[in-house]
Amino acid sequence: MRVTNMVPDVQYAMQQSQQNLSTAELQVSTGLRVNQLSDDPAASANMVSSLASSANVDQYTSNVSSVLPQMQTADSAISSIVTSLNSAITLGTSGASSSILTGNKQTIATDVESVLGSVISSANTSYSGVYVFGGSGSSAPPFVAASETYTSAQGSAGTPLTTATALNAGSVTTISDATTGQTMTYKAAAGDTIATLQAAVSSAVSAGTLSAGTTAAINADGQLSISTNSSTAGIVVSSNDAALGSMTAASGSAVANAYAYVGNSSVNTVQVGDSLSVATNIAGNQLFTSGANVIGSLSKLISALQSGTTDQIGSATNAVSAALAYVGQQRVPLDSTITQLNSQESYLSQEKVTLTAQQTALVGVNLTTAATNLSQSELDNSAVLAAAAKVLPQTLLDYLK
């Protein structure tokens, strides 16, 4: 073939060689084989899901870090409660002795009251502002001292509320009963009045949600009064209805050793793995007021110690023992969750390493290979330039001088 001008071929060779050199330098400096989508479209697409998985793993790890201390706090609180209940059982056993003096029973009753206070304190444990035994409504202490009567802020002798007073649609009034351990939640519908609320209270009494004798009535001061009508049965009432105003405990109506649960029964769950979610809180009513009823059993023991017979004290002590066993059962899932979170934390840490390795395999470059490529590209480029320098200036004219 007749060769006339080698410049275009030399230029093309230099361009290719410099492009290879540039690519090799970029790979070494970034540590990446894929620096733009077109370098490897399939790897780039796979990186999208891999990075999303990495972000999820980071988030799950963060969730574990948030939830684990909360669970450990709850477990620690339950541990304290177990200790308190054991102490109460010991005290109850002493009080059930036939030889004990009445004065000493009163002292023991006071000690058990102190134990109850400790249990309530543990049941109102919070972590970072979240009450761990308050269900999902965990921004306020879930166990509140109960009173016999609550009255509304609205209404007075001059402008009394009446049964025809309209309630605001959507407003919520709750009555938490310390004796039954249950809560009546009433959400006003359009057209509802205080009479509708009264009917709801009556229905809740019939259903056993509220203690027998609990009523809602307009008192002599023209206020709505919700009362158990019993000095031993306490309730806690709240309302966000502007027609009623805030509900407050009537002065002097506090019921001794009665605590109502004002949290809810909902349990929040948090995802800590692609297919693993754990509960982040515990509904306190399930743990302390239902089943063997921890708080109720302690209240009964106090009453028995204060005025009961030896048999009644013994029976109440047995009830506390049953409550202790119940708490032990309820603690199992919590401990299991803590174990699960700890092992999940290790798994996520390993998963992160695996994903990072996967991403390196997808878009990363083996540094040894990259360095070798760079060295080879530099050599190739030098060879091309050297060849160009040698070949281009030579013509026949050089020899005709």
């Binding site: 073939m1 007749r2 060769v3 006339t4 001008n5 275009p8 071929d9 093309y12 733009q36 989508l37 077109s38 370098d39 490897d40 479209p41 399939a42 780039s44 697409a45 796979n46 990186m47 999208v48 899901s49 990075l51 999303a52 972000a55 999820n56 980071d58 988030q59 799950y60 963060s62 969730n63 948030s66 939830v67 970072s128 979240v130 308050g134 269900g135 999902s136 409504g137 965990s138 921004s139 959507g170 919520v172 809810n264 909902s266 929040n268 769950t269 948090v270 995802q271 692609d274 979610s277 982040t280 013509t395 026949l396 004219l397 005709l400």
Partner: protein
């Protein structure tokens, strides 16, 4: 044979050597001129003279100059140039689109992950106003990422629209110049002469035209007839037919032929073909994928919102505002609220409940109406952009290599070799010197002859 006849042969020889030197000189001068084809001098032995039984040569005739061409190779170069023009136009646009979909701190995939992470964080404390605000901020960032990606694509489309107008202008200018050369070339060829410089110029113009669009060239007695790939006449004889760029009902520049017919979709190859392909097929395809993802994602999040309750206990409202039709969704998607209490975290209307966040999180793993998860749909888009760019790059590289080879082949036929011309220079120099020596010799013989009579008289 007389001395005069010999002198005449020597003069012809001088002229031939001079003409050959001129061709060599011109070749050397144009060694680096684009489109130049080397010229060779055409020498022919002069008819001999017969006197009786004696036949004597009459020297050499310089009959003309001939360009050394290969029309087939030239046609192949034109075709490859069209392919390269198209690939380069597509590559240039796609390389500007590519960074938008490359993993960064602000690409759609990253922002989508950030939104789901913020929802997950909120699940650990659903009453936290800062966590709720973080969900809205992540949603806004994702909406912005969609907006920017859409804007990048539509901006590219607008830029390509301008390019269509510019390309049409250049095509019209080139076809006009080609048509102007046709009569002169036709006249030369009618006389049996070589097209020479004019043909070089016309070939160069056709090559430039090929870089702009797919053209077909046929030789007629009136010169070259040039048509587009679909047969629309651009040049016939001395007449050129201007194309026209006009704004269509879709807001895009359409190309009309001389009769006003819309030939946009039939234009392929060259910068114009590549530009139209990218503007009318590639970018709309990517935009449709992007719009579909934005629309279906926003719809899925809004549907999950509707299953829950906001912090006030009211039924969840839309978190995203998005077009009711797919088209334009990515460009217009935005947050429907700036009120963080509107995040419908609760499944039972109580403020501390996080039950509905599971529904919002599930959007990440549930399939959209397209049959893909949002992440997979975005990954498909990423693959599409990467693959289109990679293919355009491969096409551009392949055509460049092919063109280099074809140009090497053409150059081996038509190109000027300085070494070869240097050798020719020496050859013709020697021929000229030899002819001059013949003239000198004949002059000397004339002198001797003339002095014969003078010497006798003395």
């Amino acid at each position: 044979m007389s001395l005069s006849a010999s002198l005449s042969i020597a003069v012809q020889s001088l002229n031939a050597a001079d003409g050959a030197l001129q061709a060599t000189n011109n070749n050397i001068a144009n060694a680096n001129t684009p489109g130049y084809t080397r010229k060779v001098v055409v020498l022919q032995e002069a008819a001999s003279t017969t006197e009786g039984n004696l036949s004597a040569g009459n020297g050499v005739d310089l009959t003309g100059y001939q360009s050394v061409r290969d029309e087939l190779l030239q046609t192949q170069i034109n075709q490859e140039t069209q392919a390269q023009g198209s690939a380069n136009a597509q590559l240039s646009s796609l390389q500007q689109i590519e960074p938008t979909f490359t993993t960064s701190t602000q690409d759609i995939g990253t922002e989508m992950s950030a939104l789901f992470s913020s929802i997950s964080t909120l699940s650990t404390d659903p009453s936290s106003s800062s966590s709720r605000q973080a969900v809205l901020a992540a949603g806004q960032n994702l909406a912005t990422a969609f907006n920017q990606a859409s804007n990048t694509l539509t901006s590219q489309q607008a830029g390509l629209n301008t390019q269509v107008t510019q390309d049409v202008g250049q095509i019209n200018q080139l076809t006009k110049q080609i048509a102007a050369l046709n009569p002169q070339l036709a006249a030369l060829k009618a006389n049996g002469q070589d097209g020479g410089t004019l043909q070089d110029q016309q070939d160069e113009l056709v090559l430039k035209l090929s870089a702009l669009t797919n053209v077909s060239v046929t030789q007629t007695q009136d010169g070259e007839t040039v048509t587009t790939g679909n047969g629309t006449a651009l040049v016939a004889g001395s007449q050129s037919f201007a194309l026209q760029a006009t704004t269509g009902s879709d807001g895009m520049q359409h190309v009309l032929d001389q009769s006003g017919n819309d030939i946009t979709s039939s234009l392929t190859g060259g910068d114009l073909g590549g530009t139209i392909e990218t503007r009318d097929t590639t970018i709309p395809g990517l935009l449709n994928q992007l719009d579909t993802l934005a629309n279906q994602f926003a719809t899925a999040i809004n549907a999950a919102q509707a299953k829950g309750y906001d912090q006030s206990g009211d039924a969840g409202q839309n978190l995203f505002t998005v077009s009711s039709t797919v088209a334009g969704s990515a460009a217009t998607i935005k947050m429907a609220t700036t009120d963080s209490t509107m995040v419908a975290a609760s499944s039972d209307a109580t403020s501390g409940n996080n039950g509905n966040l599971a529904n919002l999180s599930a959007v990440q793993t549930n399939t959209l109406a397209s049959g893909q998860t949002p992440g997979d749909a975005y990954a498909s888009l990423v693959y599409q952009v990467g693959s289109l760019t990679s293919n355009a790059n491969a096409e551009s590289t392949a055509t460049a290599a092919s063109l280099l080879q074809l140009n090497d082949q053409l150059s081996s036929v038509s190109g000027v070799s300085i070494d070869e011309e240097s050798a020719n220079l020496i050859t013709y120099q020697q021929a000229y010197e030899a002819a001059a020596r013949v003239v000198t010799t004949i002059q000397s013989l004339f002198t001797v002859t003339m002095s014969m009579g003078t010497a006798a008289a003395e």
